[in-house]
């Protein structure tokens, strides 16, 4: 009797876990509007032209912030291209001043700083690349509730991977983070979400 009862219990636990897992999964939606806007704390980085870029330059524009690094061969180039496709999608339906800028937050300054300008020019001349001192990068990363780590195997490892959160932060013209976009950033759906967000409407998919 006991083994039967045990296996029933196991089945129950497994079922409960499945339920839990499926709930966590459905919680990771592609587009998340934050219930209360997330204030961005002051920070000071440089753009790819070596001009200072702080909180005040985030204001008066809608911006999409993507975290990445210039030696990332797989995900970053495709994401940057997809975000441009999102902008193109929105271009038909929003006035130019309301179309978000693309900000590439490069979190690996040792390898990113020397090449950032050329790297971004290749994708789109209007892209803004941000990098700088590690503590300033970390300030912005913390404000965005994001995460990254240089995965160096030894202190002088030069061929390391960089782990980073995949979401894109949406910043409003007041300089507050108001939404998160998760991959795969389908141009049409992402464009629809952003247009409704920017027009101040509730998004329904």
């Amino acid at each position: 009797m006991l083994p039967v009862r045990n296996s029933f219990l196991v089945a129950l636990i497994v079922a409960a876990q499945c339920l839990l897992v499926s709930q966590t999964h459905s919680a990771t939606e592609d587009y998340v509007t934050l219930k209360t806007p997330n204030e961005i704390k002051p920070f000071l980085l440089s753009d790819q032209y070596n001009q200072a870029f702080g909180l005040e330059r985030l204001k008066n524009h809608w911006s999409l912030v993507f975290i990445g690094f210039t030696t990332c061969p797989d995900v970053c180039p495709v994401t940057l291209a997809n975000l441009e496709a999102v902008r193109a999608e929105m271009g038909l339906r929003l006035s130019p001043g309301k179309i978000p800028r693309i900000l590439f937050l490069a979190v690996d300054p040792d390898r990113d700083t020397p090449v950032l300008k050329e790297y971004l020019a290749y994708f789109h001349p209007e892209y803004i690349g941000l990098t700088g001192e590690v503590n300033q990068i970390d300030k912005l990363i913390n404000s965005l509730n994001a995460f990254y780590r240089l995965d160096k195997k030894t202190p002088d490892d030069s061929d390391y991977d960089v782990l980073h959160t995949a979401f894109v932060s949406v910043i409003n013209p007041e300089g507050e983070m108001v939404a998160k976009l998760n991959p795969p950033f389908h141009p049409h759906k992402t464009g629809n979400f952003l247009i409704q967000l920017i027009r101040g409407l509730k998004f329904d998919d």
Partner: protein
């Protein structure tokens, strides 16, 4: 000069390809849509994507990848775990009988280190997989602009999952 060399590479690649399609007429492993996104010249690493179909009744083991166009090539996999992107290198890859494996952005991909020549959109270069039994699978990979190809593919995949 570079033009002549790349033309030479191209001709050599075509010859290899013709040899392969003639020699292995019952080719049981097929690579299609092999492409590499065009990338800024600052990048010393490029990604390679393709679709590999094992038509045979046996599991095949990919043990190495190489190309005359790169110093070295590895099989990598991008992982998205709890919203964090990372990458890992695979020592090899098994492809089960009659299975198709997609190398695509955000998943399995070839990580190609140190291109030996400047690449332009439209260029092609030969790549080969080495199997555990020593056989080589040769194919051409084309440099193509980063674009919507992949997004469309992944949205199609997602569509299939719902059914």
């Amino acid at each position: 000069m570079i033009r002549i060399i790349s033309l030479g590479v191209l001709v050599a690649a075509l010859l290899i390809n013709m040899y392969l399609s003639a020699g292995v007429s019952d080719n049981q492993i097929q690579v299609v849509n092999a492409w590499s996104p065009a990338a800024p010249p600052t990048m010393a690493m490029h990604a390679g994507y393709l679709s590999l179909q094992n038509h045979s009744s046996e599991t095949i083991e990919l043990v190495a990848v190489s190309s005359p166009a790169y110093k070295s090539i590895e099989i990598h996999e991008s992982l998205l775990v709890d919203g964090v992107l990372s990458m890992r290198m695979l020592r090899g890859l098994s492809v089960e009988p009659r299975k198709k494996i997609q190398f695509k952005s955000g998943g399995l991909h070839l990580m190609m280190h140190q291109p030996l020549a400047v690449r332009q959109v439209g260029d092609s270069f030969p790549v080969s997989f080495k199997l555990a039994d020593g056989a080589l699978i040769e194919f051409l990979m084309q440099v193509s602009s980063t674009g919507l190809v992949d997004t469309e593919a992944s949205s199609t995949d997602m569509h299939h999952h719902h059914h």
